[in-house]
């Protein structure tokens, strides 16, 4: 189905203009450093210097290794969680899905610190082991520690995307397979999983790129021999003019785009669209008692592990002194009192900025997905690729780019400087989290068969009406997944936030947590603010799941006219 109209072109141009202004120009303002020779000329000498450095080659290999293994482990956690909760009769499926998203809502550095308290050298687990068996496990040491933390932190990307994809599979496919005698692993590996592959690949490639680019976790675990920490160390210790740091950024960008293009090509080879859409009416199968026992036991184990950072931070938020003991020794509510006394403003700011940014993201994401997949607009892939660049941009680089590009720009109606207003947060978050929303929207749209739209148009609906009444409702699950992912990842963004905060009254929660966590006396209040963030976002996610469940038509033929 290839159609192009002036309206579509206009929308595409508007989106492109937005991306150029708030992504390309700021990034270019910074990345140009990687090619500048100091006299205003162009040079590739910095790249040559980079290739000479064995440390850089080693870092590159380490980053690939960590990212690859993280995807593998995240798959092991996410796939069964998604499959069991979406496809089987399961008590508390929504609860499990919500709990499964919780790791994302904690800034990486907070999660890693909390896990140090539980799994670190003198963490609870090792203290118990040492007492009982005289041994300790190096769970949090070196690259293994990074893989451990990242797996627990990023597997929700696969869970979210895969769940949305599974819910969209036409159950008649599964029924046919079952009627033909397929069941169990064969049914899953031959029918269900291949049909949900776009969702899985979208999630897995996100995990790969996020881990490849992640800065906070390696830094908290004091691992420096990886690419993103090297870029950060160069830029912050040698100076923001250091070209090698920007060379690394360019390499990160190029590599991330390559990974995205690879996954895109992989999915594109085959056609995953089904004519009818399963949604919530897919019959959930029953598990045998023995299977039920195994499934619940396994999920409980995974959830315990997944929620351990939250447990750690919860304990920390109530503890007065926690040092070299399995559990804190004195408990107090004082940290919560401190937070409510001087940080309620930050909680509100987070909701305002991230809510607006996520809304922006799903609107643009849906539009881009539609333009890329449903029109023949020349150069439409460029939009997709542009957005992907945002994914690979370290927050520090984009932050500096924003300050550099938009300095001196005044808002109309006496709003003051753009860089000193709260709008800058919304823009920065929206741009940086747009790729998440876009992936979800693309995966959702890929599963909607174009013939449904053709049918609507044959019945006389114009394109706008078709999009509004057919395409968007069918994509609702994916759009919501995109909104939730954008929102919660923006809520925990920290590197850009630190750079862009120009007044404490404008700061969001993530900044507050960072601020508190800078001192011994502040760890308690910092943890308390972290707990509040987790609870608020968890409630939001739970409600949105409920909302989708309530608004999904139970029977497509008996729905609204």
């Amino acid at each position: 189905m290839t159609r192009t109209s002036p309206a579509v072109a206009a929308v595409a141009l508007a989106i492109a203009a937005f991306l150029v202004a708030f992504l390309v120009v700021p990034v270019a303002a910074v990345v140009v450093t990687a090619f500048a020779d100091g006299q205003g000329g162009f040079t590739l000498a910095h790249f040559a210097a980079f290739a000479q450095i064995s440390l850089m080659r080693e870092s590159f290999a380490n980053s690939l290794y960590v990212a690859g293994l993280t995807v593998a482990f995240a798959t092991l956690i996410a796939v069964p969680l998604a499959y069991l909760t979406v496809r089987f009769q399961f008590r508390g499926a929504i609860l499990i899905q919500t709990l499964g998203v919780l790791p994302l809502v904690m800034p990486a550095f907070v999660g890693a610190s909390a896990m140090q308290l539980l799994f670190g050298r003198s963490g609870s687990v090792n203290l118990i082991l040492k007492d009982a068996f005289g041994i300790t496990l190096p769970l949090m040491e070196g690259l293994n520690g990074v893989i451990f933390v990242e797996t627990l932190h990023y597997f929700p990307f696969i869970l979210l995307n895969l769940s949305a994809a599974l819910a969209n599979i036409d159950s008649s496919m599964e029924e046919s397979a079952q009627n033909l005698g397929s069941s169990g692993w064969r049914l899953f590996s031959r029918i269900v999983f291949p049909l949900a592959l776009p969702g899985y690949v979208a999630g897995a490639s996100l995990v790969f790129i996020k881990v490849f680019d992640d800065l906070g976790t390696p830094l908290v675990l004091n691992v420096t021999n990886m690419l993103a920490p090297q870029a950060y160390l160069r830029v912050t210790s040698i100076g923001i003019e250091d070209p090698i740091g920007y060379v690394i950024c360019v390499i990160l960008v190029v590599f991330s785009i390559a990974a995205m293009a690879g996954s895109w090509w992989f999915v594109k080879r085959r056609d995953y669209a089904v004519v009818s859409r399963g949604g919530a009416m897919a019959p959930r199968r029953r598990l045998t008692p023995w299977q039920t026992f195994l499934a619940y036991g396994w999920i409980a184990l995974v959830l315990l592990l997944v929620l351990s950072p939250h447990l750690g931070i919860l304990l920390l938020s109530f503890s007065k002194v926690w040092s070299f003991t399995v559990l804190p020794e004195q408990f107090t509510l004082a940290h919560y009192a401190t937070v409510f006394e001087d940080s309620t403003r930050m909680i509100w700011n987070t909701f305002l900025y991230c809510g607006l940014a996520a809304l922006f993201d799903v609107i643009i994401g849906t539009a881009i997905a539609y333009i890329v997949l449903r029109t023949a607009l020349p150069g439409r892939q460029l939009l997709d690729h542009l957005v992907t660049v945002a994914l690979a941009m370290p927050g520090v680089v984009l932050g500096i780019g924003y300050l550099r590009t938009f300095r001196g720009i005044e808002l109309p109606f006496g709003g003051g400087a753009l860089t000193a207003s709260w709008l800058i947060f919304v823009l920065a978050y929206a741009v940086r989290r747009l790729p998440y929303a876009l992936r979800s929207c693309m995966a959702a749209l890929q599963q909607v068969h174009p013939s449904l739209e053709e049918a609507a148009e044959n019945l006389g609906a114009n394109r706008w009406r078709t999009i509004r009444r057919v395409v968007v409702p069918l994509m609702a699950g994916g759009i919501l997944a995109g909104f939730v992912t954008s929102f919660i990842t923006a809520a925990v963004e920290i590197s850009e936030t630190i750079l862009l905060t120009s007044r404490e009254s404008l700061a969001p929660m993530s900044y507050g947590i960072y601020l508190y966590m800078q001192s011994i006396a502040g760890r308690g209040p910092g943890a308390a603010l972290g707990v509040i963030a987790v609870v608020l976002v968890a409630v939001g996610t739970y409600l949105s799941h409920r909302f989708v469940a309530a608004n999904t038509p139970q029977n497509p033929t008996g729905g609204k006219p």
């Binding site: 450093t33 500048a36 100091g38 040079t43 000498a45 910095h46 210097a49 980079f50 000479q52 450095i53 064995s54 440390l55 610190s113 140090q116 308290l117 670190g120 050298r121 003198s122 963490g123 070196g142 830094l219 908290v220 004091n222 420096t224 021999n225 920490p229 160390l233 912050t236 210790s237 040698i238 923001i240 003019e241 070209p243 090698i244 007065k320 002194v321 926690w322 040092s323 070299f324 003991t325 500096i400 300050l403 550099r404 300095r407 001196g408 400087a417 630190i498 750079l499 905060t501 007044r503 404490e504 009254s505 601020l515 508190y516 800078q518 001192s519 011994i520 006396a521 502040g522 760890r523």
Partner: protein
């Protein structure tokens, strides 16, 4: 002669507002200091000058510099307030600081041999800091590790795997500790000590706060930290202790007025306030625990509070800040190439040597000696470190492509040599008989 009532009220209001409006400014302070400290100053300052409003902008030092640098003149923050002296050198080098007058005359010009204020008048010392050792008493007891007194204690085998330090390229305070040891012990001996200590470290932390944090919660036994981290942790009930070793340096944490800010007058008022009797007394609060630069304040301090002016903390090292400045980037890069990026290999070599020592039980062994030499010798000797070409290479403008390529080449040579040395040391130590 009867004013209408309204007019009289208006005049009265104008009269009350006049002195206030002259002093009504929003003062923005960019700082890397923790919230307890900034909140205390905000409250006290706003109470003292009710017309002024203090906005605190907490950023780590590097982000703080980037932030000030990227703001256009006229809308920059008023005050920059941080520990690391080199941050202020960067800012004044970029012409982003405004000169401020001589300040409170009761504040001495020097502490030990280190000038309290910037000789050129761009920034002033606001508090003093010394570097020392902090340890977790429970951890040491549980692991049967003795309490340390001096840096030199930390090279002992008993401390293997129990220490933590931050990398000097990440933390200005650690750089000063390293430089103090290098100046106090001499280049070769100082590096040998640093390498032995870091070989005993469980981690080289990325943030300077990672060390006191890890010691407080028991991840590490002993950490090399700036004094207020140790004192504040102890004062908030953590089972930790802190000492100043005899080889230490006392240096000021600084405050400066940013050039091109909105209200320089308000900024100056805040700087004067932090240096006044009232502002200096705030430093004694137990969650802050910093050393005032105003000597008279120590009379109000609780018993046992360290006093750098009383001769109680003996800074034996005459810290030469010109020497430190001249080789700043070389020392940072050497530390990163030998320790930070090769910590796994360094620890493996240290362990192999310790194992061999145990196995040989004091029997002399040339192979073990050679292994020690390989691990403890810095890649650059003292003569090379003073070499003008090398120093110039590391100081060259970062955007100079040729210089950056040449520098990368030098660093690569170091990295290769260090890695080979550590591997060879493991081999020799394991084979030592």
């Amino acid at each position: 002669m009867t004013f209408p009532l309204a007019r009289r009220i208006a005049l009265a209001i104008a009269a009350t507002l006049a002195p206030l409006s002259a002093l009504a400014d929003t003062v923005t302070v960019v700082t890397s200091f923790p919230k307890e400290l900034t909140t205390a100053y905000k409250k006290a300052f706003e109470a003292r000058y009710p017309g002024d409003k203090l906005e605190i902008l907490n950023k780590n030092t590097a982000a703080g510099i980037a932030y000030v640098r990227e703001q256009p003149a006229g809308s920059r923050p008023e005050v920059f307030w941080a520990s690391a002296p080199d941050a202020f050198e960067v800012l004044s080098g970029a012409k982003l600081l405004a000169k401020i007058g001589p300040g409170n005359p009761a504040i001495p010009a020097k502490v030990g041999n280190y000038p309290v204020n910037d000789p050129e008048g761009f920034y002033r010392g606001q508090a003093l800091a010394g570097y020392g050792l902090m340890w977790n008493t429970r951890y040491l007891k549980a692991n049967n590790v003795p309490e340390p007194k001096e840096w030199a204690d930390l090279v002992k085998p008993v401390y293997f795997g129990h220490l933590a330090i931050s990398s000097p390229s990440r933390s200005g305070t650690t750089h000063l500790t390293v430089e103090t040891i290098l100046q106090g012990e001499g280049w070769a001996k100082g590096w040998a000590q640093m390498l032995a200590i870091t070989g005993n470290c469980a981690a080289i932390t990325e943030r300077s706060f990672g060390v006191p944090d890890g010691v407080s919660n028991g991840q590490f036994g002993i950490g090399l930290v700036i004094d207020f981290f140790g004192l504040a942790a102890k004062n908030s009930g953590m089972p930790v202790e802190f000492v100043y070793p005899s080889v230490t340096a006392i240096v000021p944490a600084n405050i400066a007025l940013v050039d091109g800010s909105k209200s320089p007058e308000g900024g100056k008022r805040f700087i004067e306030f932090t240096l006044s009797e009232e502002g200096q007394t705030l430093l004694l609060q137990k969650e802050i625990s910093r050393l005032p630069v105003l000597p008279s304040i120590y009379a109000k301090a609780p018993a046992g509070y360290p006093n750098p002016f009383g001769g109680k903390i003996q800074a034996k090292v005459n810290f030469d800040s010109n020497l430190s400045e001249s080789r700043y980037y070389v020392v940072l890069s050497m530390f990163d190439q030998m320790v930070t990026f090769r910590h796994k290999e360094l620890v493996a070599a240290t362990k192999a040597i310790l194992d061999a020592e145990k196995r040989l039980a004091g029997k002399p062994s040339p192979a073990l000696e050679e292994a020690r030499r390989l691990v403890l010798t810095p890649v650059v000797d003292e003569k090379q470190a003073a070499d003008k070409t090398l120093l110039a290479l590391f100081k060259a403008k970062k955007t100079d492509a040729e210089a950056s390529k040449a520098k990368a080449k030098v660093e690569e040579e170091w990295a290769t040599k260090v890695k080979a040395n550590y591997a060879k040391a493991v081999e020799l130590a394991n084979g030592a008989k």
